[in-house]
């Protein structure tokens, strides 16, 4: 019997590749265009229960209470002084130099770099102070301290400097680049009743 098309059966079957490749390239371009290189983002957790739920300060709780006051320079809005109050312990650090930002496309000069480095020292001082008070209290370095910190920041202060202060209070990195927690209970001073 003669079957129609029998001769063709032995030929190679050719798939139409062009549409598939078209689609595949479309997909590829889409995914490349939507791809975003993102740096890791992290969080500082702050718990601020409403005033009614908060226990009132007694003599006992007052002992484990660190107050951090941040004062901004009126013009540049960068941090000027840090004042800490812990029990009877009071210290004030003045930031002598303010950080300099490079103009777009420019590098910092050596003097400006030094200025930036000096300006970070104020946070290192705060960090050292917290290490001292926490070290005298608790013994477990992994869990953080029972001490509560309250930040009273100048409203005009650049948020950046507030974060550096929070960083200095919350912990540090040891020689092996591990994070050592210091104070975990950080909150802002209640400014609800103050005018902005």
């Amino acid at each position: 019997m003669k079957i129609r098309g029998y001769d063709k059966e032995n030929e190679e079957i050719k798939l139409a590749m062009t549409p598939m490749i078209d689609i595949v390239f479309q997909l590829l371009v889409f995914f490349i265009m939507t791809y975003k290189v993102t740096t890791m983002e992290g969080d500082y957790n702050i718990r601020m229960p409403s005033a009614a739920a908060e226990p009132t300060l007694t003599e006992e709780t007052l002992e484990d209470f660190l107050e951090v006051r941040l004062q901004a320079d009126p013009e540049t809005r960068f941090l000027q002084t840090i004042e800490v109050n812990y029990g009877a312990d009071r210290q004030v650090w003045n930031r002598s130099a303010f950080p300099v930002r490079p103009a777009p496309g420019e590098d910092l000069t050596a003097a400006q770099l030094q200025q930036n480095r000096d300006s970070r020292k104020v946070f290192a001082s705060l960090n050292q102070f917290v290490i001292n008070i926490v070290g005298s209290g608790s013994s477990d370095p992994g869990s953080g301290s029972e001490i509560e910190a309250e930040i009273d920041a100048d409203p005009a202060l650049r948020y950046e400097d507030t974060v550096y202060s929070i960083e200095a209070i919350s912990g540090y990195k040891d020689d092996q680049k591990r994070i050592v927690k210091l104070i975990e209970k950080i909150k802002f001073r209640d400014t609800t009743n103050q005018s902005p």
Partner: protein, 146 residues
């Protein structure tokens, strides 16, 4: 001659390696694509920090607020002119959270504030959230690499 005949045939290169490679690329980009980041505004210059780590577990319900330098708030694609008019959005999100079975006090407010924003603005924003019984805040920073 025999060669002449072959030259008249359609010359077709081997497409298999190219298609293999292209599929590999597509698979790669499909895996790294992250649609969950739509609420993160790219206009914000986050402050940098060495210590902050990404949260170990995702919060049951989160509200991400991007606070810009001038005190306006970016919420998804919506630009909110000031902190004082944020309330309707908070109320809407809290209602959404409650209908999902998440208590208001368990909702986490993620504040992505610009490094040059005023600290007072951040505090005012937190006060607005506190007025709606929100208690948990996360201050978002970007990891500083050394």
């Amino acid at each position: 001659m025999r060669f002449r005949r072959k030259r008249n045939e359609i010359l077709e290169g081997d497409l298999t390696p190219m298609i293999d490679m292209t599929f590999q690329l597509i698979a790669f980009f499909m895996l790294v694509i992250n649609f969950s980041e739509v609420e993160l505004s790219e206009e914000i210059n986050l402050p940098m920090s060495e210590l902050a780590r990404p949260p170990e577990e995702a919060p049951p319900f989160k509200i991400t607020l991007n606070l810009k330098e001038d005190g306006s708030i970016k919420y998804y694609d919506q630009l909110i002119a000031g902190i004082d008019v944020i309330k309707p959005i908070l109320v809407r999100e809290i209602r959404q959270a409650n209908s999902d079975g998440v208590a208001t006090s368990d909702v986490v407010v993620i504040i992505r504030a610009d490094m040059d924003a005023r600290t007072g603005d951040v505090q005012r924003l937190m006060n607005k959230c506190k007025a709606e019984q929100l208690e948990n805040f996360s201050l978002r920073v970007i990891e500083r690499l050394r």
